[in-house]
């Protein structure tokens, strides 16, 4: 379809005319219809119609927005000097640092001939008047703050379209650089100081980044490591001695210096909070440590006036996400207030103690996930030399939950002070029960599933145990019955053999009587004796039959009976039968021998 239009020369011209009209309108002119109509008289109606339509549409836009409102107002008037030689009253000396919000220069303020740190804020030029008011308010709020641990703001202004923020020049370096050095030296222990502290006045040893420069201070804090440090006054002005020698990150002086840095910063924050100013962007790079070891909070430029809520309708999230409190990063519900600063200082100290960022993630997404997941691991896992109290303080300050943190910077400072004075601290480490409860709360679904599984397993276990018990009872009763039967059977057997023995004895007694000599010689008794003996043998034989296996006793008695029989037969002259009787007797006796 486009081809067919393009092929048409007439339409091609109309295309160009329409384009030109739109462009004229675009750059803010009135469409010069006379010129167009004069140039293309043949398209008179088309031009008129198109123009009408275009103007109708453009009219809609004028009602929706006034395109050019306040456009010229804050348009940067431009710095003609490409190089950064000077800016109004300021002579730029060199670039000191570069951050997300601008570049910092060392500068000379010519009218007062003093050195200042000048922060150029490119983004301020993009602000519209409403935001500019907010920015100025923030600077004003910061300018009110006067505290030994807050970098004083000298002024704020706009020079040839470039907005700047002048503050006192602090000789020293940022905590961020110090942490970098600690980390760097830990990785390459043999290298010693890396020499990255260009701005740093080094002391003779070239090892300590910060030394207690004045003898006065040395007198007040005689020994960093001494137990029972002097009163609070002294500790407050104590010197933060940080050595970048990695082996020193285990010494108690390192931890006392770290605690002192935290103490200074917390005191500065408390002062700002008292004036209703929340920093909102506390991070290692915003904490300066000067050559005397004192800490300065810089960049209150991004601070927001608490009271002036109307200027922060949208609550723009500024600041570095790594040090942002969960409520600031909108991970958790909650108003961003002074406790957000406490959190940020907490994770900053965490990083100083462990030389590892509290949140490890590299992308915004990773950081936010990490922030929403769990509490920070104990810093002692990274460095077991960290004193338990200090770890507890840092963890308490950097709790995810606002209510679990220190509720004011003063409380935070007090605990650090107590730590430095070797007094018991207020913060308590969470008990195992607390941790368990929180873990369960965070992993509710997992715990629920686990609980269900456990219950199920328990039920199955109980049922199978009951089954087992039942079967065992059955088996036991069966065994008992069998045992009883066996008992009964054996007693029967015993009685039977006893009876048998009694019978045998009776028969034998009879035989003994028969063989007694009194009857032997009584004539005519032979026959009676023989028949009696035969009867006895018959009974014995029966007994023998009853006891299937020829009982030894039965056999013996039977043997005796046959022998008696033989005697009688000899007496009666029946020698032949007597031999048979004797043979039987002998056989029986032999089997008795074999069995017995």
């Amino acid at each position: 379809m486009e081809d067919s239009v393009q092929s048409d020369d007439r339409d091609q011209q109309l295309l160009r005319i329409a384009d030109e009209m739109i462009d004229q309108l675009r750059v803010g002119q009135l469409v010069d219809s006379h010129a167009l109509l004069a140039a293309y008289p043949q398209y008179y109606t088309q031009i008129k119609e198109m123009l009408a339509t275009i103007e109708l549409i453009a009219n809609v836009s004028r009602s929706v927005v006034k395109v050019n409102d306040s456009d010229t107002h804050d348009r940067p008037c431009g710095v003609e000097s490409g190089a950064l030689g000077e800016l109004g009253d300021f002579l730029l000396v060199r670039e000191i640092g570069r951050g997300g919000m601008g570049v910092v220069y060392e500068a000379i303020q010519r009218s007062l001939s003093r050195r200042v740190a000048l922060k150029i804020l490119p983004f301020a030029a993009m602000l519209d008047p409403r935001h500019l008011i907010r920015f100025r308010n923030e600077a004003q709020a910061a300018a009110v703050l006067e505290h030994p641990h807050i970098v004083p703001v000298y002024g704020i202004g706009c020079e040839r379209g470039v907005h700047y923020y002048a503050m006192r020049m602090i000789e020293g370096s940022t905590l961020g650089t110090i942490i970098d050095d600690l980390r760097h030296n830990a990785q390459q222990p043999s290298n010693g100081p890396s020499g990255r502290h260009k701005l740093l006045p080094r002391n003779e040893s070239q090892k300590s980044v910060f030394a207690d420069a004045t003898a006065n201070q040395r007198a007040f804090a005689p020994a960093e490591t001494s137990i029972g440090a002097p009163a609070s006054e002294t500790t407050a002005s104590a010197v933060a001695m940080i050595s970048t020698d990695p082996s020193d990150t285990r010494s108690s002086s390192f931890f006392r210096a770290a605690a002192t840095i935290g103490l200074h910063a917390a005191q500065g924050l408390q002062h700002a909070h008292n004036h209703g100013v929340v920093h909102r962007d506390i991070k290692p790079n915003n904490l300066m440590v000067d050559s005397a070891g004192s800490v300065w909070i810089a960049d209150f430029g991004l601070a927001q006036l608490d009271a002036d809520a109307s200027l922060t309708l949208t609550g723009d999230v500024v600041g570095t996400i790594r040090y942002m409190s969960p409520e600031q990063a909108r991970v958790c519900a909650g108003v961003v207030d002074h406790r957000s600063d406490i959190y940020s200082l907490g994770v900053t100290l965490y990083e100083l103690l462990t030389q590892q960022p509290a949140l490890r993630g590299n992308t915004r997404h990773e950081l936010l996930t990490e922030l929403g997941s769990s509490e920070l691991p104990n810093p002692r896992l990274h460095n077991p030399f960290i004193p338990r109290e200090l770890a507890t303080i840092v963890l308490k300050a950097s709790r995810r939950e606002q209510l679990e943190r220190y509720q004011s910077a003063a409380e935070f400072a007090n605990d650090l002070q107590r730590f430095l004075e070797h007094k018991p601290i207020e913060a308590k480490p969470p008990t195992a029960l607390d941790r368990l409860y929180k873990w369960c709360y965070r992993n509710r679904s997992l715990v629920f599933a686990f609980g269900c599984g456990l219950t199920l397993a328990l039920v199955v276990l109980i049922v199978s145990i009951l089954q087992l018990v039942h079967q065992r009872n059955l088996a036991r009763s069966a065994a008992e019955r069998e045992w009883k039967q066996a008992q009964a059977a054996s007693s029967e057997e015993r009685r039977a053999s006893q009876n048998c023995r009694l019978a045998l004895r009776a028969v034998n007694e009879l035989l003994m009587q028969l063989s007694a000599t009194k009857l032997k010689n009584v004539p005519g008794m032979e026959e009676i004796r023989a028949s009696l003996t035969n009867r006895a043998i018959g009974i014995l034989g029966q007994l023998d039959d009853i006891g299937q296996n020829p009982d030894a006793q039965v056999a013996l008695e039977l043997g005796k009976a046959y022998q008696l029989m033989g005697d009688l037969q000899v007496h009666g002259g029946e020698r032949r039968t007597a031999i048979g009787s004797y043979t039987k007797s002998i056989d029986l006796c032999e089997t008795t021998d074999k069995n017995g």
Partner: protein
Amino acid sequence: MSDDIDELLRLAERGDETAVARLLGGQRARLRAMVALHMDARIRGRCDPSDIVQEAMLDAYRQLPDYLASRPLPFYPWLRQITWQQLVAHHRRHLKYQVRSVLREDQVWSCASDCSTSQLADRLADSVISPSGQVARSEVQEKVLNELNSLPEGDREILVLRILEQLSSQETAAVLNVSENAVRVRQFRALKRLKTRLDRI
């Protein structure tokens, strides 16, 4: 103007912070107009177009080194894209949590209960010009706006970019990822179609 931007881009590339400031600051009004054009009336009470532009500016400031390194598209279309993302994000944020109260205020979107909130947000930030209740508008303007919104999407898009957002043909081509000639053809056709519709009323 484009020479000016090219010159500033060159300076910015060399690390001139003031050039960066002028580069971004110079586009602020235009971006604000763009945001105001597309922003839904219901979130207008909750945030100002300037806020959205402000956040977009900070984004742009952070992303500028990447942009300067590759320059995938002309400067203004690039800025507009970042601002657009902020605009969509704001619609999402405000409508996600407040869809109920918002619906009570404005019955126009009563069908919204059928849509997921994110769909709703996407649709609102689509190139439909918002039926703003806050701006006084004449009857004729109202009619033109209605007709414009009822045009096929491609037609509406090009007229919005060229006439309402005042992008140049070149910038429009970059935003839509078509040739400049295609832009000319499309805008001409769209104008013709809109005219026929307007003639009917």
